[in-house]
């Protein structure tokens, strides 16, 4: 695989997938495994001449049928480990993880009509580690857990995993409600190589390699009209 020096400086590869008519970004790694998430075929790699201006644009990482397939895959992976969910609960992390948790829960209900899927919302505001280190305090969201987590297998659900600090707070916040048997983490988007803490997800929708100035935004049909994952490039 060849790469031009200009792209190596950026630390990113840009792929054009003519089959799906989508553009994908990936950080350069020595192993070809780094590209595995983007189903990019060598034959249709097309380096666009205006690499820089293309990088500034917002890229869609996931939408349409592939978004729905990803949700379904995550559900089936959960069923592999939790069978009928008799001893498992789902906790969506406020504010943005609850939409994914709701979607996963309703999808699981349609796959397993007999199962009783317990789904709650967990607010982590008071457990964050950046209180008094930011300009103003964050306004908390509601926590809604109508079941007991003591002795249960808890699946924490969030939309994007980046530094891992939210998940650290979530584990603290959750422990205030009891001692679960086991805790797992499900994320729709895993921003790799950006962790501040030794936290890794158990279930991953897609993995993204991104730089710090970029943002990953997950929008939902319920609130933002469309199911979509976008990579926003700053400035």
């Amino acid at each position: 695989m060849s790469s031009s020096p200009a792209m190596q400086i950026a630390g990113l590869f840009l792929w054009y997938d003519s089959y799906n008519q989508q553009t994908h970004v990936s950080r350069f790694l020595k192993s070809t495994q780094a590209f595995s998430d983007f189903y990019v075929f060598q034959s249709n790699i097309l380096f666009l001449p205006l690499l820089k201006s293309k990088l500034m644009q917002n890229l869609t990482l996931l939408d349409g049928p592939k978004f729905q397939i990803t949700i379904k895959r995550l559900c089936h992976q959960l069923i592999e480990n939790h069978t009928d969910f008799s001893n498992s609960v789902i906790l969506g992390i406020q504010p943005r993880g609850i939409y994914l948790a709701d979607r996963i829960a309703s999808e699981l209900k349609s796959i397993l009509p007999q199962a009783n899927i317990l789904n709650g919302n967990l607010d982590i505001t008071f457990f964050r580690d950046d209180f008094r280190r930011r300009e103003s305090p964050l306004v908390p969201n509601t926590t809604k857990i109508d079941f007991i987590i003591e002795g249960k297998k808890v699946i924490l659900v969030d939309d994007v995993l980046w530094t891992g600090r939210t998940i650290r707070s979530a584990m603290d916040a959750m422990m205030a409600f009891g001692r679960p048997e086991k805790v797992e983490l499900l994320v729709l988007v895993d921003r790799r190589f950006s962790r501040h803490l030794p936290i890794e997800p158990d279930y991953i929708g897609i993995q993204v390699d991104s730089i710090n100035s970029q943002k990953v935004l997950v929008s939902w049909k319920e609130t933002d009209q469309e199911d979509k994952v976008i990579l926003l490039s700053g400035k």
């Binding site: 457990f127 008094r132 103003s136 969201n141």
Partner: protein, 311 residues
Amino acid sequence: MADNNQILGTRHLLGIKDLNEKDIQLIFETADTFKDVLNRPIKKVPSLRDVTIANVFFENSTRTRLSFELAQKRLSADTINFAASSSSVSKGETLIDTVNNILAMKVDMVVMRHPYPGAGIFLSKKVNAQIVNAGDGAHEHPTQALLDAFSIRERYGDVAGKKVAIVGDILHSRVALSNILCLQKLGAEVMVCGPTTLIPKYIKTLNVKVEYDLMKALQWCDVANMLRIQLERQDIRYFPSLREYSMLYGLNKEILNSLDKEITIMHPGPINRGVEITSDVADSKQSIILDQVENGVAIRMAVLYLLAGQR
């Protein structure tokens, strides 16, 4: 997570005067979640674990001090308590010296009650710490007003448009002034009621209704906030006897039952049973006196959290 950070318009909580409607709603929304925290098996959150708060009380208090202390502990703050009666104040130390000595021990916030109006405002200009006013003379008692309005909001869903009568010793009451300001900012109508001698002459400039007949006030209002007669502040006699006051302005079950609607009874405490309200009223279903105490902790947690979070 981006755009839900909001900030109070003030660095200290000295009075309701410094807050606007948005600030009050922000405190209420935050208190809602703290109330939820207080109903959990583990009622503690680690938010204020690196904050030290001094409770400086130059005047007696049980409810307010306990409520503040509990709020601080629930937020994991370190607290020190100071009561003027057992301190060097009696040896002649000035207020600024006392507080600066406490601050030298690396204290971030001071919760102060003082018998002189404006003591908190004075202190906030002289020392480098965030001040929370827990009552200054007959001036303001902001957290009490916030928890009263929060309790009304909890009972009725909204404060706007509600009619609130404040009955009793308006002249000596800091609760009355803070309540009037807070309720008006939230869009409620306020009436004060009491003997002419205990209603300040210029109260009308605050845009409140004044009524000297308890029956008429009760028929008008949705909520009656019954204040205590502050005998310790009365340097002269404002009415002939406590018995006469209680006959004219005391609330009992017969009066309550004679009204054609069910009103809510509030009291900031401490209650003088048999004077401003009788026991059967204080313990009735219409009374939300104990809800007020419960909400006090959540409101104070919200205030401390929001103030400590801004730097």
